[in-house]
Structure formats: structure tokens, C-alpha cells
Subunit: 359 residues, 2 copies
């Protein structure tokens, strides 16, 4: 059943039927009802390709999916997607994934632009030296970034979380609890979120008058294996005098490995080691259900997905005129994995005046 047949059936022109269906005002209510009823009864659905061609709109948003042997689409993506999907649904929007290996990313964007198969794209996993912003801008593809490069040139639109603030606050808490030897098992610092987090940790240390060099910082892909490996380096292999009393972790996966190493070494949270981890809110891996519930900086990546879809639609339709740079605050949730530094390590209490100045 196509428009032509439907309109013949109703003895109306294609124009009228089309307008009735799309809610234009030039159709009488009576006709509109008649058309809608007939369309529904015969199961008429406009051919999406014809509509796309005629309107120039694709009705879908795109994402260039990084693939390749060594690129692991991480679980964050699914969670994000899930949020995006929830919103997309309400707008009858599809999501189109264009797979591309990292080295051929730019080609993929060119293809998207030239073939007009999507109305806009979102970018994620922003790197420090982000190339894609300039590219999609030049190609004229409406876009919205999830995260931001180090220097968001020319004010492009993004949704990001306050990674700097989150890790600043987490670090400040640890310092307030008397910890002095801190370790930070960070994500890959090629990505800007990891740099922001590091900045936050350092700022908190500096605020407290602690030499930034004392931070034991490790950067690696966020997974169980690396968490385990690095925790062992810190707690098993290193000079005992250097052992951190608190660890900041960039993801729940990393933390899985850290907790495994600590268990194995017989170290207890929070008496021996305090841990604060970032939690992207995975439904299948909850910090509160660990043996020792974990303190976290929490921000739902799923909510970000929904929001990004919402804004991208606005950007495409032109409703969002000036690029908005949205930075979400992050909650610091204290559970059982954080506590005062072990006595032998406890920091000498500072004089009241000094403490006040630091606030």
C-alpha cells in the first residue's frame, strides 16, 4: 500500500492525504479523520526512503562505531546506547551505526556527509587532540559531543560530566580523612576525561599543600586486568614505605581488579586501604553490593545518552541555536570503602588557621 493507492481509495489527491497524515492545517478535520482511519485500517506506513529523499531529512542519528581487532567497544557504550535508545524511541528516530576502524574514521564521516544518511552525529570518547570536531564541522554535519576535548575550540556543543570536580572532591575527602599517600589508577590519558580527572586530583592536593609529585598515578585501559596488575604493583611489589593508604579508581571494572588484589593480599577496606571509584551506573555491577560497599563518584552514563539524543534532535531541528556546553555535576557517595588513614600514616593535624585558609 502506497500513497497513490491510498489516495485513489479515498478519492482524494496525494497532496491532501499526505497533508492529513502529517498534520498540516490545510485539511478539514473531517477529511483528516477519514484519512487517518483508512491509513490505519490498511496498515499504510510511508516508505521511509521516499520520505527521506523528498524531505532531505533522514530521521536518524548516526554514530561512527570504532571497530577492529584491538578496539574494544566497552560496556559503557551499551549503557549509553540504552539511554539514547530510550529517548530516540519517543521521537521515532533510528540510530545508524557506521562501523569504521580508527584509521579510517574520517572516511566514514565523509561517507555519512555525502550520502546524507543521517541528520546528525554524536561523538564520544573525546581525545585530547580531537580531530573529529573540525572534520564534522567542515562537512556540515550537525553534531553533539559526549565529553569535550581539552580545549573546546569555537565553543562546540557538548554534554559532559564534571570529571575534574568529581575527582577533586573525592581526593579532598581522602585528604580530610588523613590520607597522604594517594594512588590514582586512571583511564587512558589520551582521552580528555582522564586528564580532567587527573587535574581534579592534583588541584585537591595542591589546595591542601601536598606536593603533587607524591601522587602515584597510573594510566591504563579501564579493565579488571589492569586494575589487578596495578594494584599488585602498588601493594605487593613496591617498597612497603611507599604503599598508598588510599586509591582512586577510574571505573568499576578497574576496581574489580583492585578489590581482587586487595583480597588476595589480605588487605581490608577501609582499615588498610580506602578506595573511591568512579561509577557510571551499570545495572549489572553495583558498588553498593560489594562485600565492602564502595564509595563512588557517580554519574549515570545512561542518563547522558538520553540527554544527548534529546539535544541532538534540537540541534538538528535548529531549536538549539547557540552551542550549549553542558557540564553535569557528579555526586560523591560515601559508603564503607573509605575511612580514616591508618594510624601510623596519619597526617599531622594542621594548625586551625591553615585549615581555615584551605577552605
Amino acid at each position: 500500500m502506497n500513497l497513490k493507492q491510498l489516495s485513489a481509495l479515498l478519492d482524494l489527491s496525494q497532496t491532501t492525504v499526505s497533508r492529513a497524515l502529517n498534520g498540516y492545517p490545510e485539511v478539514s478535520e473531517a477529511t483528516r479523520r477519514r484519512v487517518l482511519e483508512a491509513a490505519h485500517r490498511h496498515g499504510y506506513k510511508p516508505n521511509s526512503n521516499a520520505r527521506k529523499l523528498a524531505t532531505g531529512r533522514a530521521g536518524s542519528i548516526g554514530y561512527v562505531l570504532p571497530v577492529g581487532r584491538n578496539i574494544d567497544l566497552d560496556p559503557h557504550f551499551v549503557e549509553f546506547l540504552s539511554g539514547l535508545g530510550e529517548h530516540a524511541l519517543s521521537r521515532e528516530i533510528d540510530l545508524s551505526l557506521t562501523p569504521a576502524p580508527y584509521e579510517r574514521e574520517s572516511e566514514a564521516y565523509h561517507r555519512i556527509a555525502a550520502s546524507r544518511s543521517v541528520d546528525g552525529v554524536y561523538l564520544s570518547s573525546m581525545r585530547n587532540d580531537e580531530q573529529r570536531i573540525a572534520l564534522v564541522r567542515e562537512l556540515g554535519i550537525p553534531f553533539l559531543a559526549h565529553g569535550r576535548a581539552l580545549k573546546p575550540e569555537n565553543g562546540y556543543a557538548f554534554v559532559d560530566i564534571d570529571n575534574e570536580g568529581a575527582f577533586h572532591d573525592a581526593t579532598r575527602l581522602l585528604l580530610q580523612l588523613g590520607h597522604q599517600r594517594l594512588a590514582f589508577i586512571n583511564g587512558d590519558t589520551d582521552f580528555s576525561f582522564a586528564v580532567h580527572r587527573l587535574d581534579g586530583v592534583r588541584r585537591a592536593m595542591a589546595d591542601r599543600g601536598l606536593p603533587v609529585a607524591k601522587l602515584q598515578h597510573h594510566s591504563a585501559a579501564m579493565n579488571e586486568e589492569n586494575g589487578y596488575r596495578i594494584a599488585n604493583m602498588l601493594f605487593r611489589d613496591a617498597d612497603p614505605a611507599m604503599r598508598p593508604t588510599a586509591v582512586l579508581s577510574a571505573s568499576m571494572f578497574t576496581t574489580l581488579g583492585i578489590v581482587r588484589a586487595l583480597n588476595q593480599l589480605g588487605l581490608k577496606m577501609p582499615d588498610d586501604v580506602s578506595v573511591i571509584t568512579h561509577d557510571d551506573v551499570f545495572p549489572f555491577l553495583k558498588p553498593e553490593s560489594f562485600s565492602v560497599p564502595l564509595s563512588t563518584t557517580r554519574s549515570s552514563i545512561r542518563a547522558a545518552g538520553a540527554r544527548i539524543c534529546e539535544r541532538l534532535v534540537d540541534i538538528i531541528s535548529g531549536a538549539e541555536r547557540e552551542p550549549v556546553q553542558e557540564i553535569w555535576p557528579v555526586e560523591l557517595i560515601v559508603r564503607a570503602s573509605t575511612g580514616p588513614a591508618p594510624a601510623e600514616h596519619r597526617m599531622v593535624r594542621r594548625r586551625p588557621a591553615e585549615a581555615a585558609a584551605a577552605e
Copy 2:
């Protein structure tokens, strides 16, 4: 730049240019080269919507993405997607996701069918009472299933792994090692893979002459939390005489929780408890890097993704005429988490004749 402009530029008809670009034989080699060169130089890419409309082909495969507050898109999906993407890439095929809540799934398929936005769909997470097969067949959408319903009616095409065989073999090994009290922490038995696995476990027990009722079977969503909860039920809360000496686990996530519970209860693998888990091969969570490396039944879900894309393309093009039902064998990989049953529980050795008959 569109076809019209390009052909004007070359002083050729649109027909000829289109044919040259699409590799039809009616074009002289000289013209073809000239056309290709010009197209490349001016960055001409055919408008995908126009092409789709003209050919009726969409150049993309679809998936109805389950969304909704209580549906958790699990990490298996990403891994699968990643494999699919790898293959799709080589064929310049996009993947189109249509988000839909479970109750409105059928509507989504209707929309896909009527709007002709994809050439075919793949179905996954097959349930026992699978409705979708009949639906997509009726709608005339080419499809390929990942997994199979309990009774694959009318021989539809699928790719599945031998879940029954995998869990049979794993169970047989445990029985050979003398275990008699087995627990199986299964996935949700609404899904057919979980039923197949249970069948496998039961068959191995029956083969060995063990009453099937002795199996402690638990079915729940595969995540850390449930693994932990159920392991505690089995090892902490239950009558000590009932404690299993071996546990089969349906996923690495479940196993994370099991291992956590065992650690907490001071139970060691494999001396106190043997564990075998199914491993879908997540790059971020490897059974071999656990403190006690885990024995697994292994099948790469990513490889399945790639294969499904490959076959779906064949199905769409008509290259696969008869529906092929492909079942992949699953490897049983023994690592350190499995060992002989603890002495006090060890099974009485059967008489040689009986043992031979069981083979």
C-alpha cells in the same frame, strides 16, 4: 555534487555515469576510468536515500533494540555488535537500530517492514515462546536468528552455539572428578539458551546414573549481584550437608559474584569448590586472569556477530537459498578452578562394567 552535475561536467548522460560507477559492463573502459577519476576528484558520493528509493534496497541491516527502564542491554550485546560491525564494514553496510520497549516490539517490526528502511534483521535473545520468527516471516523481512527457540519451526535460519553440549561436557568432567553435589547458577530460563544448558547438565547426570533431582538449579539474570546472592544461599545459608562441591555458572558476570562470595566465606577453588563458567570472551574480563584461573566453556560472541552479518548479507542477496541452521561447537577449557571433589564427598567408584556402559 550530484549525479546530474557530475554527468554534465563529464558531458555524459546520467545513465552512463551511473553505470560506470556501479560496474556495469556496457561502459567502455576508457569512459569508466574517466568517470571514476572525476567522481573521486570531486568527492562525489551517491545520495543514499535516492539510491535506496530507486533500488528498493536499504544497504543496512536492522535490529530492534530492547529498551525500557527494566531492560538492561547487557554487555554481551556490545561484544556481539563489535563483531557484526567488523564484518559490516567490509561490505559498506550500516546497522540500523530501532529502539522499542518489549511490549511494543511487534509494532517496531511492522514499522521496519512497511518503511523498508532495512534489508533484513537479525534477532537475538531468543525466548522459548518466540513470537518474532512468525512475525518477521509474515512481514516478509529476511532474517537470521542468533540462537534458536526451543522448537525451530519450519526450519528458519540461525546461528547458535551448542549450549547443550557445552554444559553436558562441563558436567561430565565434574562428575568424572567425583563431584556429586552440583549446583547450576543458570541464566533466565525464559531464554532458550538457558533451557538448552540445563538439558545438557541433566543429560550428563542421567548418563552417569545420578538422579536429576539432586541438581541444585537456580535461574536468574546473569549479573554479579545474583551470582553473589545465590552463592551465599548455597554455601552460607544452606544445610552444610547440602553444600555443593561444584558450581556451574552461566556467565562471567555471575561468576564474579560467586567468586566474591567464596572468598568471603573462605572457600578455596578448587579444593573446596570446583567452578566452571561459560565465557563469551569479553576482552575486559578474562577467566585466565582470575586469582584462580577459571575453567570455562568458551565461545566468542564477537565471532558470532561477524558470522551473522556475513550470512545475513547472503540471505538478503538470495545467495543462501535454504535456511541453514548452524550450531557451533563450544570448547571446554580446563584451568585451575576445577579439581577432584573433596575427599569426604567423593563418589564411590562405580564398577568397571557400569562405567563402560555409560560411555
